[in-house]
Assembly symmetry: C2
Homo-oligomer: 125 residues x 2
Amino acid sequence: MQDLLSIFKALSEETRLRILKLLENGELCVCDIVAALDMVQPKVSFHLNALKESGFLKDRKQGRWIYYRLDDSDFFRRFLLLSVFERIPKEAIAEDRRRLDDFLENKQTKGGVVPIQNKKRCCGG
Amino acid sequence: MQDLLSIFKALSEETRLRILKLLENGELCVCDIVAALDMVQPKVSFHLNALKESGFLKDRKQGRWIYYRLDDSDFFRRFLLLSVFERIPKEAIAEDRRRLDDFLENKQTKGGVVPIQNKKRCCGG
DNA sequence: TAATTAGATAAACATATTTTGATGCATTAG
DNA sequence: CTAATGCATCAAAATATGTTTATCTAATTA
């Protein structure tokens, strides 16, 4: 019963659904998600941890980044995720997507003609 | 998104899962559920209302009783209910069941040789 | 009609969850 | 080696949820 409860609790928070929806297209590091959601990092980490603890996410460390991705090892959770994705319309997270794309694009530019004020940006410079 | 959230919120509380599981076998009035869960009535009403608001339950009034039953009009919710029932083992709510059966049995005895101290019992005497 | 009963609801209280701000620890870049 | 970066974690504050106690209404029965 506790396992079931933790599954539903994980899915009963808007920020967490937005994170899951962002990860629908593939793994992202914490700073990507922070940029996409436009939230402070500890807040995002808190929700990432909740999703991980309840078996919806896996993570992997690479260099100084930690990448999170959907954990599809459990059938029921996978089904729930599909249901969630299906029921969250694209428009609902259009802003998140846009901020993410902006951010990822800047990442590309690393080492290029990055203006000084960008040299301090995470994942960039 | 809010609709989806309210669905998962409804399912992320133990008392509510117990109520749903009790209703798996058919409708019950509030006092039945109060007896089964051995909780105070306003608490049970609070959770019944949450389940109703999120589309998992329907109610109907009959005399001075209000009967609650599962609302199977929505496919997704119905699927979730099946998943929940499947994942909550019988033993997990054995006590609830026992108290319910005791209570329903006493109801039968209404008007019979009910001892004086039972005449005030709800649904009974 | 008066007393009883089923159940909703509201206010006060208690607990749980989320958010923030600060700090610490790796890892990497300079 | 020293700075900076990415991220976890912790304590405090803020918010949301659940619980209790008291009260109210409608229906019912004596």
